[in-house]
Amino acid sequence: MTNIKLDVNDITVTYNNGHTAIHDASFSLEGGTVCALVGINGSGKSTLFKTIMGMVRPTNGSVTLNGLPIKQALKQNLIAYVPQTEEVDWDFPVLVSDVVMMGRYGHMTFLRIPTKEDRRQVDLALEKVNMSDLKNRQIGELSGGQKKRVFLARALAQQGKVLLLDEPFTGVDVKTENAIIDLLKRLREEGHLILVSTHNLGSVPEFCDHVVLINQTVLASGPTKTTFTPHNLMITFGGALRYLSLSGSRLHEDEDPRMVSVLTDDERAAVFYGKGKDDSPHENLLWTDGAYHTEPERGKRDDLI
């Protein structure tokens, strides 16, 4: 399998009403990566997503996938997408299996009549997200976590090499969140490139090995270990984050210069422990190949999906 490569070259997006949502943004990513797109609401996250999906054309610059312009990449079914839960019309008269089948449209002929292979892929995808029993339910009859998993299954059935998830953790219980994270890790091991837009800071170091920080432009892009620092996060979020730190005599009895920093937007907090504002996230929270270092209950995650 050839490794996938996404290049965002110096793009600027100005809407017809004159609003520039994002300017001079550049970064590039390769397969086998889970990358978090982090920024406040209105920072241009969703514009960047739309540009990568070809919904919005950049006024300047270009986005290419393996050197192909997005339009051609879409024709080859390279990109799959999981929408935000709020964007879906849950009253729409479709069953779970109908929705997952929508992932196969790009593989079908002109009349979109499903073949045996299409049906097999749909069943397989439903199995992977543990939703086989619910395939004949109307989508509005599902719980929050199940709703999310239907669309994950659709993305899986599409067999795209690049997966975009828009705020996958809003309105989702911890169990589903863990299940999604597990699935993403497995996909990363298979060489997929996964882009997650999120403002859920706490979970970023757990499963993302790369971060792109955004506010109207790309402020920083790099491995989580070096880029996801309190300093960078404070620049990205400005005053929108709560910042707490413990250091000196309140934390240690000796002269240890390290301090505990907690950054939170009142959802899940990002916790740092080190000598200053340029630290990497705490090692116990970082995902390195294999397993987590600590917290034995994490091991149970594997059997959730």
């Binding site: 017809n16 009403n17 997408y81 479709v94 929508m102 449209y105 009349l111 979109r112």
Partner: protein, 283 residues
């Protein structure tokens, strides 16, 4: 039993009624198919807008000596494209723009109509005149209905995805722009074909009622299409027969029947919900 049979068969002994029933059947069928997509896409107002906007096109086509259908179609499409363009380029919401564009065009059409001496009756354009359908008009309605129905039936899966999740449609490589304007064009065509039966004012009911009635009854899109067809065809045909007997406006009779069916399904859904609630143990 025999009396009911007579009630239905008697009108068909008149040639004008035969043409009327066929026209009603054709429009009922194509409107039913389209209504499912309009309801799910949330384009009900778009249907109303296009139907009103055809008026100036009809008058202008008459002045230029063109077939009226071409004028009506161009005018309807112009309304929807102009709405889209204005929305893209200013801060106003789409439904607001649409409201002013279509009522402006309709008013312009009314003024033109009163200044130009046409052979058309304003009442027939506004409220339809299915009992007066000529053979040529019937052919036109039949051709449009068949062509539009075939397109919708063949591309129903693409159109359904376009309504449900346009982003996914784009991502799997469907031509989203083409689907958008394609759906608009067949909507305008269908409206033009339906004018004969129900007229400018009431055509919107034909384009919503079957879809929304079917929507409240089923969980799958295929069933929604089928139920919409049954609702629409039965109410158009029955409405035409009733109007023959009570000597009332045909379009109005059809729409009353559709509204009644919609009301009945709402009552049915409500009762079913009550029944389910009753069966649940009180916690």
């Amino acid at each position: 039993m025999l009396e009911i049979w007579d009630f239905i068969v008697l009108p068909f002994s008149f040639p004008f009624m035969q043409r009327a029933i066929l026209a009603a059947l054709a429009t009922g069928f194509v409107c039913a198919l389209l209504s499912c997509f309009l309801v799910l896409k949330g384009w009900s107002l778009m249907g109303d807008a296009i139907s009103h906007a055809v008026l100036p096109g009809i008058v202008i086509a008459y002045l230029l000596g063109l077939p009226l259908i071409i004028g009506a179609f161009t005018s309807g499409i112009f309304c929807s494209v102009a709405t889209g363009y204005i929305k893209e380029n200013c801060r106003v919401k789409e439904d607001t723009v649409m409201g002013i564009v279509f009522s402006g065009m309709f008013a312009f059409g009314l003024v033109l109509f009163s200044k130009v001496d046409t052979t058309q009756h304003l009442n027939h354009i506004l409220f339809g005149n299915v009992l007066g359908t000529t053979a040529a008009e019937l052919t036109q309605i039949a051709v449009i209905s068949i062509v539009v129905s075939i397109i919708i039936i063949l591309k129903r899966r693409d159109l359904m995805l376009f309504c449900f999740d346009p982003v996914q449609a784009k991502v799997v490589g469907l031509p989203v722009k083409l689907l958008h304007y394609g759906l608009l064009s067949i909507l305008a065509l269908t409206i033009v074909a339906s004018l004969q039966a129900v007229g400018v004012i009431l055509v919107i009911a034909m384009l919503i009622a079957p879809g929304i009635t079917a929507f409240s009854l089923c969980k799958r899109f295929q069933w929604m299409l089928l139920i919409a067809i049954v609702v629409s065809v039965s109410s158009t045909v029955l409405g035409t027969i009733i109007s023959f007997y009570i000597d009332a406006a045909t379009g109005a009779c059809i729409v009353i029947l559709q509204a009644t069916l919609f009301l009945l399904t709402q009552i049915y859904s409500y009762l079913r919900l009550m029944l389910i609630r009753k069966q649940l143990p009180v916690s």
